[in-house]
Each structure stands twice: as structure tokens, then as C-alpha cells.
């Protein structure tokens, strides 16, 4: 069964340092993978997606994600964290392939300290 996991409830990083938010997945076949961000008291916003092609996907706000098929991972990265990056981050994938049912991980709270 398709699933996505975010092993860390919270990630703490100092401003200016690189950040990584982890996501692993389980699908049969080639996955479609997404990252969304949620700022406090707001709805989720799309960051980036992997459909096919380059393993390094670039998205909004300077974020990128690296698709690794052998490790079944899709980690979100940014070279230099900002305090304003502090938010809740969700990894997601469609259940059953390219369907309407997008399922989300449990979320990782990113806290960037000044």
C-alpha cells in the first residue's frame, strides 16, 4: 500500500545553516511526490513536486528536494535557513498513482532559531 512517512516530529536549525526535512515513501512503481508548507493558522501551500526526470527538484522560497529511489526518500533541503522558514512541512503522494487522493505525512515542525 502506498504510504509516506516523516520520521521527525520537529527539526531545529540555526539561521544560516543548511536544513533537511526527511520523508520516506512506499509505492509500487514510479512515485509522484510533493512537499507542502503550512504557516501558523494558514492552509497548506505547495512547495514542489517530483513527477519524473531530474532527481533534484527546485521549488518555491529557495527549497529543493532530492529524490532517491534506492533509499525511497524525498528529503526537503535548503542551503541556508531563515527564521521565516519556521513552519510545518508535509510530504505527500497520491494514493493509487495519479489519482485525486493525495495522502499526507504527519508533518515535521521546522524551527529556525535566530
Amino acid at each position: 500500500a502506498q504510504s509516506v512517512a516523516q520520521p521527525e516530529d520537529q527539526v531545529n536549525v540555526a539561521e544560516g545553516n543548511p536544513l533537511t526535512v526527511k520523508c520516506t515513501y512506499s509505492v509500487s512503481g514510479n512515485p509522484y511526490l510533493f512537499w507542502y508548507v503550512q504557516y501558523p493558522n494558514r492552509g497548506l501551500q505547495f512547495l514542489l513536486k517530483y513527477i519524473t526526470g531530474d532527481n533534484l527538484v527546485k521549488g518555491s522560497y529557495g527549497f529543493e528536494a532530492e529524490f532517491n529511489k534506492s533509499q525511497t526518500s524525498f528529503h526537503l533541503k535548503k542551503p541556508s535557513a531563515l527564521v521565516s522558514d519556521s513552519a510545518l512541512y508535509f510530504c505527500a503522494l497520491p494514493k493509487g498513482g495519479a489519482t485525486n487522493k493525495l495522502i499526507f505525512g504527519t508533518g515535521t515542525l521546522l524551527a529556525v532559531q535566530p
Binding site: Y32, F34, Y36, G97, N100, K101, L102, F104
Partner: protein, 114 residues
């Protein structure tokens, strides 16, 4: 920001009462979704719609019903609210199927069932 309006934004109700949440979009997107967000669970899909009068169940549909009589409106009804339905509910829309197209989210409706 995508034109998505959820109403009400906050509601407190008592166990056993019916509740209807409304999602209104001005984007003319085909697909609409209702998710609930709970700590430790991330977002879980309740129901979704792939066109007027075309709806289907998500992961956690028990106790919920939906209706879509117009492209722009997607209603979520709790026929008899229970305390386990206390949650933040998000509406989302997409132009294409969720496995390919990104989702745009509303600001959320916080429901408390006493």
C-alpha cells in the same frame, strides 16, 4: 492566493447537532477536497469531488457526507457531530487530478464539538 473561501472559520457546537461547512471557490477548478487536520495524523482525506454531483469517499469518511450541486461549492456535513470530529477542516481545490496537479488550500475551519 487561490480564490477559496471556507465558512464558518470557527464553530463551537454540541454533540448530536448537525453541522455544515462550506467551501466556495472562484477558480472554476474541477476537483475539490475536504481534509481534516489532527495532531499526530497530519491531514486525512474525508471526501473529494471530481465534478458536479460526482463525489467519492476518502480515508476517514464515516460520519461525514458531502454535496456538490455547483462547480464552485462543496459542502461537508456532519449529520450528528461527535467529540471525535473536533478538528480543523481544510478545503482544497485542484485543476487536475491530485497526483499531477497541485492542491490549493483554504484557510481552514476550526470545529469544536462539546
Amino acid at each position: 492566493d487561490a480564490g477559496i473561501t471556507q465558512s464558518p472559520r470557527h464553530k463551537v457546537t454540541e454533540t448530536g447537532t448537525p453541522v455544515t461547512l462550506r467551501c466556495h471557490q472562484t477558480e472554476n477548478h474541477r476537483y475539490m477536497y475536504w481534509y481534516r487536520q489532527d495532531p499526530g495524523h497530519g491531514l486525512r482525506l474525508i471526501h473529494y469531488s471530481y465534478g458536479v454531483k460526482d463525489t467519492d469517499k476518502g480515508e476517514v469518511s464515516d460520519g461525514y457526507s458531502v454535496s456538490r450541486s455547483k462547480t464552485e461549492d462543496f459542502l461537508l456535513t456532519l449529520e450528528s457531530a461527535t467529540s471525535s470530529q473536533t478538528s480543523v477542516y481544510f478545503c482544497a481545490i485542484s485543476e487536475r487530478a491530485g497526483g499531477i496537479g497541485e492542491l490549493f488550500f483554504g484557510e481552514g475551519s476550526r470545529l469544536t464539538v462539546l
